[in-house]
Structures are given as C-alpha cells and as structure tokens.
Subunit: 235 residues, 4 copies
C-alpha cells in the first residue's frame, strides 16, 4: 500500500502545482502521468521536477510536446523521453526535454467533458459498487480508444462518472457519432459539454458549464463556441 | 484540479490507514473506494471514518460486508449503505454499517496479481504514453468484467501494468481460460501470480512472489498453494 | 521551502500513524521528533520506520526508552541512538533500538495541558500576530525549562496557545508553583488541566476535559484523578 | 493528533504554494502563519485561499501588508484582519484584505539566517534530545524578542538549529550586538549569514551562502551585500 500512497501523493502534488498555474494533470497509468501545461514555461516544468525530487524518494522525467492535435503533442512529448533511453535504464533519470509554447489564441485548448446519463439513479443506487464501476470502465475504455483512433483526442477518467477529453475542433455531428458508438458498443449513454480557452482551466470550466447546460435542457451535446459562453450549438 | 488533489489525498490516507493494518484499499471510482479489511474490527473502521471527517471537507460512509465470494461480500457492503438512502441524499452522511468478521483460516483472502507480458519493451518503449495506456485500460476493462461475471472476482488497476484481483479459489485451468479470453478479446497477453493468506497483505505478498516466479520461469500462471510458498502449481 | 514541506509532511504522517494507535507525537526540533508510544509494540515502530523509508527521500532512526519519569524515558531513548554514532555519521541510518513495554496501569501516562488565560481577547485581538507569538514562545521557553529542571517533565508547543506536557505525578501545589514561576518570569498567565491514562490518548483527553473545567469554573488548575473523571482536585 | 496532522498539512500546502512562487512561509503559532509574499499578486493570494477552502475543513483569512520595516508590514497585515472582527467571530471568515506591491528593487527583502555554533557536536550528540531542544528554544525566544524590539525584525524557528529572520538593513555591528546579547542572556552562541534580494527566495539563498561562508572561514557574521554575492563584509 505504500506504493499506492506514494503514487497518489506525487499525483496530488503535481495536480496542485499544475492546477494552480491553470493547467490540468491526469493520473493515467500512475507511473506515467499526462498534463496539459499550456501557459507554463520551461522554468515552471523544471521547478516541478526539482520539487518532486526534493520531497519524494523518486524522480520524474518530463517530455514537453506541442502539436495541432492532442495526440501529436503527446507523441512529441513521449519521443522527447523515449529517445533518451528505455523506461528501465538506470541512466534515464530526471530528463527534461522539449520546448514550451506561449499562449497564442483563445482556442489553444479544447476540452470535452463527458458523463454518464443518470449515473446515480441508474447505476450507483441500483447496482453494487463494483458493477457500476464496471459500467463506467467499459464506457471509458471504449470512448478513449474510439476518440483517439478516429479524432486524435486524449481521454482520462477523473472519478465518479466523469471523463475529460483533450480534443481537436470537431463538430456536433462528430460528437453525435461518438456518443452513438459508445452507446452501441459499451451500452452506456453519455452526454458531453465542450469548451475552449487559451489554457486548460479556461477550456475546462467552459466545458463544465456546457455540460450543466446539457443537464438543464436535457440534451446530449452542448458546445460553447467560445470561452465566455456567448454562443453555442446544441443537439 | 482541487477535486483531483482531494480525492488522491483522501485515498492516500485511507490506503495508509488500512495498509498498515494489513488490508488493501483500491481507488475504484474515486468517489467510491473498495477495501479488503479482513483483520480490522469495527472500531478501526470507525476511527478511519472519524479521522477523515476531522481532516477533510468531506465525510465518508462505510458499508462492511462478508461473503464466501468477493462479489457477495461487496454486494453485502453496498447494501448496507444503499438501504440508508441515495448517494445524493443530504441525510445519508457518515453511515457506518455492517459486521466485521475475525480472521478464521490462513486462506481467508485470495489474491491474483496480473501484469502485461513484456509491457516495457512491447508497449512503454514502443508506443506513445497514451497508446500504451489504451492497451492496458482495454485489458483491464475486459478482465474486470470477465472475472466478475464468470468467477465472482473483483479486479482493480493499481498503476503501471498491474491489476490486482480479489478472487475465490479457482483452478489453474480457470486462470488459463481467463488469460486466453483477454488475449483473444483485448489482444493483450497477461500473466498471473496467485496467493492466499489470512489477510490481504499476506495474500498480496504471496501473489507478488508467485508473479516473480512466472517472470523467472517464463510461465503464465503460478499459484502459491499457501502463504508460505511451500508448494505450487504452474503452467 | 521544500525542506519545510517535507518536514511537515513526515511529521503529519508520523502523527497519524502514532495517533491512531493512541499515542502522541510532537514536532520538537523537526529533524528530531518526540512521541509517547505507550501501547505500541516493536513491530509497530518497525512498520512506521519502513513506511517512511518507502515514501520519503529520508529515513528515520527510532530509539525507544522507558522510565519512571518522562525525562528518564527520553534519556533512555536518546542513548539508544547516540551509542550507535553521531547524528552526522553516514553509517547511522535507520537505527531501531530499545524495548517497548506493555500497558501496565491506568496511570502509565500523565499529561498536563496548559494554555494562556484569555489569549484571544488579551493577545490575538490586541497585538499584531508576531507580538502575540512572542508572548507565547516566551511562556513556552520558560515553562519547558522549568518543568524539565524542577519536575523532570517534557513540554511541547502544539499550536495556538496550547502547550502539552508529559509529567510525572506532581501535586496541585507543584502546578501552582509552576504557574507562578511562568507568571513572574515570562509575564504570562497560564492555566492547566491534568489527566492520566494507560496511554497518551486517554491521558490527553482527560487533561483536555480538565482544562475545560478550568475555563467553566474560572480556576487555574484542575487535576482529573483518574481517566474517567470521577474525582478531582482544584485551585 | 488529527488537529496536529491537519495543521501540518495545511502549512505544507501553503509552504509549497508560496515557496514555488519565490516566497517564504513560516508556521508561527500554527493557527496563525506568517509569509513573505513579495512577488505574489492579489490573484495569487486569492487562489491560495480558495484552494485551501476546497480541500480542507477549515478556511483561512489573509491580511496583506507592506512597510519599510518587517514589523510595520506585519502590523499592517494584522490590522487588515483585526478590523474585520475578533478571531473567534463566526462572521470573520475568509477575509482577504490589503494591497500587494510589485517588486521594486533588488534589496526589497533582507534575510538573516542564524544557526547554533557546533550544534551537533556540542548539543545533539551530547545532550538528550529534549535538553538540546531546550537550548535551541531558549536561544530562539531570546533572539526573536530582542530582534523585534531593537531592530523591528521577525524571526522564525525552521527546524534543526536554524532560525530565519526577516530584517531591515542593519550593520555588522548590530549583528555583533545581537549575537552577544543572545550569548549572554541565553548562553548559546549563534552565527549569522545575511542576504538580500527582490524576493524571499533570492534573499534566503544569499543568506544561506553567507552562512556557509561563516562555516568555512570560522567567522560569526557574513553579509552578502548583494544577491549575487560579489562583495561582502565580515567579522
């Protein structure tokens, strides 16, 4: 259990550090985390790396990547680390590689926030805790693979019945296709709110409001066309 | 990100509390955690609940269940909480229900520890970080559903390429069927070490040694027939 | 600041571990902590040491001592570590030395809980934050030295205006002398509640109730003669 | 012990937040912390307050003050909170008052880093852990009061045998007077390194290097006249 505790605390510290600089961090495989760090500069990444090394019995390597599509940025980031050596090389320690990019537009980051329709009444209160967890994991595994293969997006389960995806600009029709695919393949009905911004915090809040709009209007898809929530498309 | 941090730290504290009493805790949905608490008594569960309430802005409800099979124990535990009210009722706060059982035999808990064959060389060093994560999540979603439906076991992803399952006593043939099912359905090759004990720590360590045996002997399944590792079956 | 964070978190973990086994831990010099671990056995101390080593970039040495008086127990504990080598020897790492003692009587641990009379109205709301802190530190430095030299007790500042002392059985007259000494030397008026028990948690709660009694009755000293608060002496 | 754990963790989080923005935070009374936040703006302070409220069962009030001398800045900060109400008013919650100031010169913050001469050989390895702690607390109580009354500086014990003081620009003769006062009053010999900078991190590192210079040259006082350590005065 010490390893579980250690992973959780390292993640909590990374989430705090990046989160209070307007980025988002995801636990992913736990020995391998993914973060959206638009707005952080090289020095910020270096400080995080140093601070973890000072306070934990482990060190972290950081690859920084950018790209038009989320998966391209992630591939760039992964390459920065993989070219230095295998994950199990003793010599590959505390790599910090790659180039940060300044904020450019108010649409630098796009986030889609998915959740399960009526999760509490349909699953949490009906099924035992494990069976409702299976439903959500099945939906997640299906969504993450489909969104990555068809749309180059990255999806992360963030607790409860919530999945947050880093996405390129895709259309309402695309989201309809995605939701139908998950419904037919994993037999789970999702809804989604979409937002954008110059950093992850702005895009994420916009997406969260969009998801609230879905709940109020009982619709499946709502896209905030800009961070300030003035116009929107829906289904 | 504050919510992510909070969930991770609450889990880290629960993992420490239960872990240093020889139990195992799993993050599961994060708003809903599952633990194997054989060996903890009612007062231990109460102390954990009180300590979380004292130090976090949230409270926890705990349902305690027992059963011949893992899923039966979990259903019992879930029922203890669900009968009090919906997860979203304001009045359902800090429930502590159910009855603990003393350690009875040296086989009270059975644990199967799965990992992915050659995960580092085949995935971590070859694919980008997200694509190797997809592979593992797909294996996990497949394994958790199959093991639950066919064998009444509970599986939890614990980071890296590791999945820990709480299982009833099943045979080497059963594990072979499970591994083949995951290989054909999710296209991922797993191996598994199995151990038992009077509590989760004992069973978990036995399972971990069994998995090491698989690595050394290049076999797919190893069952430690008892906690002290004297006899074993393999494939 | 990383070192401050590390010290605080290591202490928080030690306080949780020992606290939920009915002991008390004190930060002291931060690189050197003191705990009352009546009721914990050798294995408990070993588990704490191992768990810190697993999760932090530092290791801890633990000396365990017992004695009729608190200072004798502490000297025993310190000797266990000092005989192994200097605090700056590279080779002195993860020492675990000394012998635990089982709970014997309901009076094994005696705790005196001091606070400053009317601290909020007289200092916190009147003086700036630093000047009220000076007052409390002056009272603490005076009390800790006097109680140690005259009565062999150990005092620890625990935040706010609270000082917790591990004491031998001393009389109401002794406490009166102590309070007068601090009043004349440091110009701060203290009150004190005293309790005993078979472990630190029991004695500490009894002392806390005794201090509440002082507040209600507007008296300076209250001694709970037993853990269950049946009889008491006061001034 | 839950309260001790909570205080330590809240402090650890504040220390991390402020520390990785180049400020310094001190535990002080634990229910009342002091930080040097030169370089942080109003929004930073607000974010810290919000983040603590989101993750702990307590909220924090923040008063921000500035001044030519450290004590003046602290009085300003305290006033911002005290004018809103007593520390025990239910209505005084999450105050955020006062005005931040931008970095102005490379000498905005001056830090003096004191430690005890030969602490390990003279005290830690000779005395029991509590008696060496008494020595350090006595030195601290004496220094903090003298430096505040005579020189308007603020001193904080930061663990081990280290005291960090926020000071105005005072001379080598002043430091000589301070060290002699502590030696004659508390019978403890200190040495001190002094540094300045546009923020606490810069001044603190400069002071730390100055203290290292004292150790190497076996002198009692070393002042780095600028953050980049080009010239210096010594005794």
């Amino acid at each position: 259990m010490d390893l579980q505790t250690l992973q959780s605390r390292v993640f909590a510290d990374i989430a705090q550090f990046i989160g209070n600089r307007r980025g988002y961090a995801f636990l992913a495989r736990a020995d391998n985390m993914v973060a959206v760090t638009n707005g952080l500069d090289h020095q910020d990444h270096e400080l995080l790396q140093e601070s973890i090394a000072n306070r934990y019995p482990v060190t972290i390597s950081i690859g920084i990547g950018t790209g038009e599509e989320p998966i391209a940025a992630l591939e760039d980031a992964t390459n920065q680390i993989q070219t230095v050596g295998s994950a199990q090389d003793q010599s590959r320690r505390e790599v910090l590689a790659g180039i940060t990019r300044k904020r450019t537009t108010s649409r630098d980051v796009q986030i889609a926030h998915f959740d399960v329709n009526n999760a509490t009444s349909r699953y949490t209160d009906q099924l035992n805790a494990f069976d409702s967890f299976i439903v959500i994991q099945r939906a997640y595994a299906t969504l993450m693979q489909h969104l990555r293969e068809q749309y180059s997006g990255l999806s992360f389960f963030v607790g409860g019945d919530n999945i947050i995806s880093i996405v390129p600009e895709i259309t309402t029709d695309d989201y309809q296709e995605i939701i139908q695919y998950v419904a037919s393949t994993a037999e789970v009905n999702l809804k989604v709110g979409v937002g954008c911004g110059s950093d992850a915090a702005e895009a994420g809040i916009s997406a969260k409001y969009a998801l609230e709009t879905c709940r109020h209007r009982e619709i499946a898809i709502h896209i905030n066309d800009d961070g300030v929530n003035l116009s929107s498309k829906e289904v």
